[in-house]
C-alpha cells in the first residue's frame, strides 16, 4: 500500500542545508497499524508529511496504492490528500471559527472524483463521522467550546470524512492529557480493528507506540530498526 524507497529530504535553512531524511525506505501493507518512532529531529515527522503528501521528497520514490506520488502535479496531489488519506495533526488544526460539523464537511467540499454529494448527504455523513468519535452531541460546537481531546476527535472525524483507506496521525496524543490521549487511542484502535483502516502513527512515546502492530524506528533520517511487536 505504501512503498517508500531511498527517500531524501533536504531543507534550505538560510545558508545551511538540513538533511531531514537521508534515504529512508519502508513499507506499509493494507490493514496494518504501524507506529513510527524516533527521537526529536530524527525526521519522523518529515517522513509522515511526505507520506501524507503535505510535503514532497527531494529524491527517492514513494508509491501509494501503486501510484508514483512523486510524479504527480499539485492538483493530483490535492486529489490524493482529499480522497485517499486522512491526516490527524498533533495541533488539531481546526478552523478557529467553524463548528464541528463544518470542520468535518470541509474535505467533502473539495471532492473531485465524480460529482460531489448533495449538501444534505454531506451533513448526514459528517454527523455520522462525529457520532463515530463520540461527538454526536457536539455538532454545533466551535473549537473554543471543546476540550483538547474533543478537538482531536473532531479532527479524526474530519480525517474520516472522505472515507480514506489510510489514516495518518502525527503525534495524535502529543498535546493531550493521558485520559484524553487514551480516548483518542481507543478510537484509532477501533477504526483499525472494526473498519480495517490502515493506520500510520508518529509518536515519541514508547507506550503509545507499543499499541501498534509494528514499530518503525527512525534515527538521523534513516530507518534503523523495524520490529514486529517489540516487547518493552
Amino acid at each position: 500500500m505504501i512503498e517508500i524507497r531511498e527517500v531524501t529530504k533536504v531543507y534550505q535553512m538560510g545558508e545551511i542545508e538540513v538533511h531531514a531524511l537521508r534515504g529512508a525506505s519502508m513499507d506499509v501493507a493494507p490493514g496494518e497499524w504501524v507506529a513510527i518512532t524516533g527521537p526529536s529531529g530524527s525526521g519522523k515527522s518529515t517522513l509522515m508529511h511526505i507520506i501524507g503528501c503535505l510535503d514532497t521528497p527531494t529524491a527517492g520514490s514513494y508509491r501509494l496504492n501503486d501510484i508514483e506520488v512523486s510524479g504527480l502535479n499539485d492538483n493530483q496531489l490535492a486529489a490524493v490528500r482529499n480522497g485517499q488519506i486522512g491526516f490527524v495533526f498533533q495541533t488539531f488544526n481546526l478552523l478557529p471559527r467553524a463548528t464541528a460539523l463544518q470542520q468535518v464537511m470541509l474535505p467533502m467540499q473539495y471532492h473531485r472524483n465524480g460529482s460531489r454529494l448533495p449538501r444534505a448527504e454531506r451533513i448526514q455523513r459528517a454527523r455520522e463521522a462525529l457520532e463515530l468519535v463520540g461527538l454526536g452531541d457536539r455538532l454545533r460546537h466551535r473549537p473554543t467550546e471543546l476540550s483538547g481531546g474533543q478537538q482531536q476527535r473532531v479532527a479524526i472525524a474530519r480525517a474520516l470524512a472522505q472515507q480514506p483507506s489510510i489514516l495518518l496521525a502525527d503525534e495524535p496524543t502529543g498535546n493531550l492529557d493521558s485520559k484524553s490521549g487514551a480516548e483518542v487511542m481507543e478510537i484509532l484502535r477501533n477504526l483499525h480493528r472494526e473498519r480495517g483502516l490502515t493506520v500510520v502513527m508518529v509518536t515519541h512515546d514508547p507506550k503509545i507506540a507499543a499499541q501498534a502492530q509494528r514499530i518503525i524506528h527512525i534515527q538521523d533520517g534513516l530507518v534503523v530498526d523495524e520490529s514486529e511487536k517489540v516487547a518493552l
Binding site: 503535505l54 499539485d74 492538483n75 488544526n93 473539495y110 471532492h111
Partner: protein
Amino acid sequence: MITDTLESLQSALEGLITNKMRASLTMLGVVIGVAAVIALLSIGQGVQESITGSITGAGSNLLFVAPGSFQMGGVESPSGSAASMTYADALAIADPRYVPDAALVAPEFGMNTQVIFGSANLNAKVTGTTATYQPAFGLEVARGRFIIESDVNSRSAIAVLGSQAARDLFGGFDPLGQKIRVAIPGSGGGRVSLTVVGVLAPKGGSRASDPDNAILVPITTAQTKIFDGRNALGEPIVTTVNVEAASEERVDAVATQITALLLQRHGFGPDEEGDFSVVTQADLLVTVQQVTNILVVFLGAIAAISLLVGGIGIMNIMLVSVTERTREIGLRKAVGARKSDILVQFLLEAIVLSVIGGAIGIAVGVGIAKLVDASGVTQAVVSSQAILLAVSFSVAVGLFFGIYPANRAASLRPIEALRYE
C-alpha cells in the same frame, strides 16, 4: 456548475459571517473610500454647475462693460471700484451710430445697503438700472410693472423686487404699493422711501447676481437719491453696462465696437489698454471655469486621499489577517483543496465584501450629496462617472489585496502554510 458556484458563494458568505470583525473592517475601507469620492466629486460638480449655470442662464448674447481692468484667470476688481464709466458712456454705447450691433443697452449702478420694511431688515444690493434691464436678462414681472423710461427721467422713488427679496421683506403680504425704506450709506441714518411697483417672477439658478434677490430702482434714483453716483466732475457714473448683442455671432463685433468707442471717449490711443473692460459671457465662463476647475481638482485630491486611506485600510486588514489565513489555507490544502479552490474562495470573499461595501458606500455618498444639496449650502450633482470611479478603484483595491496574500499562501506546500507563523 451553477450549484457549485452557489455553494462556493455560500461558503464565502459563511466565511465572512464567521469573521464579522475582519469582514466589517475591510468593508469599512471600501465604504469610506467610495462614499468620500462620490460626495466630494458631487459637491465639486454641483458648485461648478451652479456657477456656470448662473452665467449661461443670463443669456449667451450678453456683454458686460465695467470700469477698471478685468483680469483673465485672476481676481476681478469689484465693480464700481473705479469711477471711470459715466452714464454718458452708456448712452453712447446705446447709440446705433457707434455700436450698430448692440440690441439692448442696460446701464447699472448698484451697491449694497440696508433695506427695511416694518421689522424686516435686509442687507441687499440695490441696483439702479433702466427699462432695458428687463429684456436683457430675460426677466418676467409676476405682479405690477417693471421700471419704465419715465421713472428714469423723473428719478421716481419706486422699486421692483425679486421674488426672494419680496418674500424676505414682506413674508406673505402683498408688497405692491407698500413703501420700503433704503438706508443712504454714509448719511448717518438718512433713508429714502421707495414704493414697490412690481415683483419679478422667480428665475432661480444664479447666485452671484441673483435676480430673485434683486432690488431694482431707476438708475437716476440710485445715482442721486440713494448713493452718491457722481465722479469728480459731477457726471453720473455707472458700475456696469450690460449690452445684449443682436445675435450670438455679433458678440465679438459688439465688443470691438464698444472698445473702440470707449478708448476714443476716454482719450486713449487705439492700441492702448484703457480704463475699462469688456467681458463677454464666454470670457466669464472661461474665467469662472478656471476657478471652479481648481475647486474640482482640490475636492478630487481630497477624494483621492480618502480612496487611498480606504485602500490602505483594506490592505492592512488583509495583510494582518494573513498569518491566520495562511494556516487556514494550509489546512484547506491538507484536506484536498486545490490552489484554484483557494483562489476562488478568496476571490468570492473579496467580491462579496467589495460589492456590499461599494453599495453601502454609494448609498452613503449619494446620501451626503443629497443632504448637502438639500441644506442649500451648495448644489451637489451625483455623476455616474464619480460612482464608477469610486467603485472601480475600491473594488480593484479590495480584489487585489484580497487575492494577493491568498495567492502567495496558496502557492506554498500545505505543510509550509500550516507551519506559517
